[in-house]
């Protein structure tokens, strides 16, 4: 009993006898009779895709992916390669977690609901805001959802959304698509030595502004110093103050609630996922006053018929399957399993481990910048700021040539300007730093 035909799906468990009995019960001789497809739109050709054994398929994927070079990635800018403990793979891969779906029947989904409730609670502690949903796709789409929230809840007739001029292109472009169906317009404000230029913002913010977006740390790894003043600016204009960040940064940096943030977005999979070619987990938290306008799924506590605590998806009248075109978002399938992994990773670190991970990100970035600064032809950090995880270095040689030479020596860095490279220490083992500095020494002169 291995597949329904000799060449059929290996995951359809029939013998021919069973199939015959089933056809009989249905009342047809051949399964093809069940397809009610007019002749003129039938597909009588083949896809031309060869079937393979499991072993052959694994080999194929291994060979294809084998073409990826093995590099030490000193890369960040929103996507990080922190070490993920084995505990997380082994437990998150338990098939009950992996093979269930959205908890439409909470009575048989208590475990996942509780894990998501714990994830939401983690974000509530980290942000200081009262409400966190149980996932968006990634930081870019969470930012887009924040803008549509601003559109729905604005108290003015304004239409301007302000974002930093250094915002990642992927986030900016995604945001543009999310607001394309509204009358909102995305504008940039200048940065000063990589941080938000508070004075320029003060001039830019007026009653037409519905949202001000700031990231901490910034895309260049610098730590914002005037977040509360920017919050006041947004507040005075009745604009939504949206902060972009991540769980590691949140473990140490100023609490968003304390600087007046209304919404926090970002990539939560900084914990939980290894580098995954940009796959993420959209973090979305907000003040309680926006509860009925939150996009995405929310898990709440309730009681079951025996008065014991139980969890369930709640406030579903915000969602597409009930509210359709008046829903707060079109999201259905989300990133729940990644949220589970993030919650697990945070739990395995504990509060000490999380703070330590963040603080080491500051120390290691500063240490590496100092070492790199000692190299002839390199100046680092470019920005006179505190840094988390990453920093920009100025190179005398063209940055692209430096990056290509480094790649030949087994290291990947970002090129962020004609003579600027960006270097990230998150997830890079200590023993790779000496060889990196040596390689940079060779290529930078």
């Amino acid at each position: 009993m291995n597949g329904s035909h000799a060449t059929g799906s290996p995951y359809a468990p029939y013998t021919n006898d069973e199939r015959t009995a089933m056809l009989e019960s249905v009342g047809v001789d051949d399964v093809e009779e069940l397809f009610d497809i007019p002749e003129d739109v039938r597909f009588d050709d083949e896809f031309g895709i060869d079937a393979r054994t499991e072993r052959e398929t694994r080999r194929l994927v291994r060979l294809v992916l084998g073409r990826n070079d093995e590099l030490t990635e000193l890369l960040g800018r929103g996507h990080y390669g922190y070490y993920v403990p084995s505990l997380i793979d082994h437990l998150a891969d338990r098939s009950e977690f992996l093979t269930s779906y959205t908890q439409y029947q909470p009575e048989v989904s208590q475990g996942f609901l509780q894990a998501l409730f714990e994830y939401q609670s983690l974000l509530v502690e980290l942000t200081g805001l009262e409400v966190a949903n149980c996932s968006m796709y990634d930081a870019a789409t969470a930012l887009g959802e924040a803008a549509t929230l601003a559109d729905r809840t604005r108290s003015t007739s304004g239409h301007r959304v302000l974002v930093p001029d250094l915002l990642l292109e992927g986030r900016r472009s995604t945001l543009e698509n999310y607001v394309a169906g509204t009358d909102l317009e995305v504008e940039t404000y200048p940065t000063d030595d990589a941080n938000a230029d508070r004075d320029a913002l003060a001039e830019a913010v007026d009653e037409d502004v519905v949202m001000v977006y700031v990231e901490n740390p910034t895309v260049r790894g610098t730590i914002e110093e005037r977040l509360d003043e920017i919050g006041d600016l947004a507040d005075d204009a009745d604009a939504l103050y949206v902060l972009g960040t991540d769980p590691v940064a949140l473990s140490m940096l100023q609490r968003p609630a304390d600087v007046g943030a209304d919404v926090v977005v970002g990539d939560a999979s900084v914990l939980g996922l290894p580098t995954s070619y940009g796959m993420g987990l959209g973090l979305f938290a907000c003040r309680e006053e926006f509860l009925r306008q939150v996009p995405g799924r929310l898990v709440g506590a309730s009681e079951d018929a025996t008065d014991r605590r139980a969890y369930t998806l709640t406030l579903q009248t915000r969602e597409q399957h009930i509210r359709r075109e008046r829903a707060t978002s079109n999201i259905c399938t989300n990133q729940a399993w990644v949220a589970l992994r993030t919650a697990m990773h945070a739990a395995s670190l504990g509060p000490d481990g999380m703070v330590d991970l963040a603080e080491r990100g500051v120390r290691r970035a500063a240490d590496l910048a100092e070492r790199v600064d000692g190299i002839v032809g390199v100046k680092a950090p470019v920005h006179d700021r505190h840094h988390l995880r990453e920093f920009v270095a100025r190179v005398d040689q063209p940055a692209r040539a430096v990056a290509e030479d480094l790649e030949r020596r087994g290291f990947a860095v970002h090129v962020v300007g004609e003579h600027e490279i960006q270097i990230c220490v998150a997830g890079v083992p200590d023993e790779r730093l000496d060889p990196f500095v040596a390689a940079l020494e060779e290529v930078a002169r």
């Binding site: 019960s25 505990l87 149980c134 000490d352 603080e359």
Partner: protein, 497 residues
């Protein structure tokens, strides 16, 4: 033996004990430890940042690895997944997720940063290129983007591509998207997110698109018609060629919602039916795990005419195929009139790796057989249950009516019989709908057991149904109370006490 009926629990439910009145305490109820931040400047143990840039403290559970292993193992035991038993959740295609796909996604060489050079990520680009090609063949589409991270995100891309196309042709005035009454809720929401007015289309008496109503709805303002085929009743839209012609005649585009593609593999392709743009739900049709709600992936395929508008970047074979190895090289490129990006990077990469592996494993015959068996299974199951199935002939799913019973109660009672129930109360065209999609992975024996569960519940009285479930770890959960006084975090529970 006690008389407590709860001792007789369904077999899948391993959560058999209760601790302090709770099924499993929250992490925060096991421990909460507050860590102070700041202090001695940059000395060991102090913060490396000035106090004004840091928070004061952080309070979270601090538990050992063994404690966490037990916590999450226990949580996993209180979840019903595909590996627990049949999961005939209509429209969700809950098919078995082959284990080996986890192994290929976990290959160390799959763990790459998205900002790496194209030269150093040829493996990733080749896999994406080959998946684009596979999906194009399967859907009959000319060009594919893999960026959308879910089906609804794919719909949104389709809507944005349609908008860009019309705008490009000087027809930006088109402001309506037509969606059948029985469509997935995401269709309405995605069109609205794109800024369109949604025109709802009633079904005809047989459950298909009403051509007269469509004629009336179509106009020079029509940007697109979004359609699922087979539709949410499992019925093939027999008039699809005519529908396509009608939509195209007014200058509109035809969008295919790929949620039900598992019915058609190797039998019909959206591209051949006249669809201009479609999304694929790889977590449905191509068996990547649903993960308790996600991640999925919702690649979008289009005809040639729309390819210049797809999100950036896509992957293509580079011209310089004269590389040392003789292997083709791949590169990223931005389509000429791209709508830009709908995800920060390239979507849910790890999910795409699994989908590629599934398609490469099954090949033509396996994919065609998956659909044949999915359709046979749905028809066989329907033939064995006593609830009425008002519309047909259906394909991979059917919608039964619970008749005088409340469909939501029927679902709760089915839990007591150890199976996951179907999707309920939707589509609304069928009263008290039980939307059932067994997929190809169930054996005859399992389908018989599933049918027995349906039939046992069909024979039960309302009181039994309303009291269900009786045998699960958690009994019926109070939804009203959850929504009336939202408690969305352990912090909120503390406030409550």
């Amino acid at each position: 033996m006690s008389d407590d009926p709860r001792d007789d629990r369904a077999r899948y439910d391993q959560a058999r004990y209760v601790e302090n009145g709770q099924y499993e305490p929250l992490l925060s109820e096991k421990d909460l430890t507050r860590v102070e931040i700041g202090g001695d400047g940059d000395e060991d143990g102090g913060s490396p940042l000035p106090d004004e840039l840091t928070r004061d403290s952080l309070e979270l559970p601090a538990l050992s690895e063994p404690e966490l292993a037990r916590h999450y193992t226990r949580l996993s035991q209180m979840i019903y997944g595909i590996d627990s038993g049949p999961y005939p959740l209509g429209s969700c295609t809950m098919k078995y997720n082959p284990k080996f796909t986890e192994d290929v996604a976990a290959l160390p060489k799959a763990a790459v940063h998205p900002d790496r050079s194209e030269r150093s990520t040829q493996g990733t680009l080749e896999l994406l290129y080959r998946l684009q090609d596979y999906l194009g063949r399967i859907g009959g589409m000319d060009a594919v983007t893999l960026q959308p991270p879910a089906g609804a995100a794919g719909e949104f891309v389709g809507i944005r591509v349609a908008a860009a196309y019309h705008e490009h042709n000087g027809e930006g005035h088109r402001d309506e998207v037509i969606v059948p009454e029985s469509a997935h809720g995401t269709n309405f929401a995605s069109a609205a997110l794109g800024g369109y007015d949604v025109v709802s289309l009633p079904s005809d008496d047989e459950g298909r698109v009403d051509l007269e109503a469509l004629e009336a709805a179509l106009s020079e303002n029509t940007a697109a018609l979004m359609l699922t085929n087979p539709n949410t009743l499992g019925l093939f839209e027999r008039d699809i060629a005519e529908i396509a012609e009608m939509v195209h005649d007014v200058g509109g585009l035809l969008y295919y919602d790929g949620a039900n593609l598992n019915a058609l593999l190797g039998r019909a392709r959206p591209g051949d039916m006249g669809f201009d743009v479609m999304h694929y739900n790889v977590h449905k049709t191509f068996a990547t795990p649903h993960g308790g709600g996600g991640p999925g992936a919702g690649p979008v395929g289009v005809v040639d005419e729309l390819a210049p508008f797809l999100p950036a970047p896509r992957v293509r074979e580079a011209d310089d195929s004269d590389s040392r190895s003789g292997e083709p090289t791949y590169e990223l490129f931005d389509p000429e009139h791209t709508i830009g990006k709908v995800h920060g990077y390239q979507g849910n990469w790890l999910v795409l790796v699994k989908a590629f592996a599934y398609i490469a494993r099954l090949g033509d015959e396996g994919l065609a057989d998956a659909s044949a068996t999915a359709v046979l299974n749905a028809n066989y199951l329907a033939s064995r249950i006593e609830y009425e199935v008002p519309y047909g002939p259906f394909h991979h799913e059917f919608v039964a009516s619970a008749g005088d019973q409340d469909a939501a109660d029927v679902a709760k009672r089915m839990l007591d019989h150890g199976v996951h129930p179907p999707t309920t109360k939707w589509p609304e065209i069928v009263p008290e709908a039980l939307m059932t999609e067994p997929t190809e992975v169930e054996s005859k024996a399992t389908l018989d057991r599933l049918a027995a569960a349906f039939n046992a519940v069909a024979a039960e009285d309302d009181e039994t149904l309303e009291g269900a479930p009786q045998r699960t770890a958690a009994r019926r959960i109070d939804q009203t109370d959850a929504a009336r006084s939202p408690r969305l975090s352990w912090q909120a529970l503390e406030d409550d006490d």
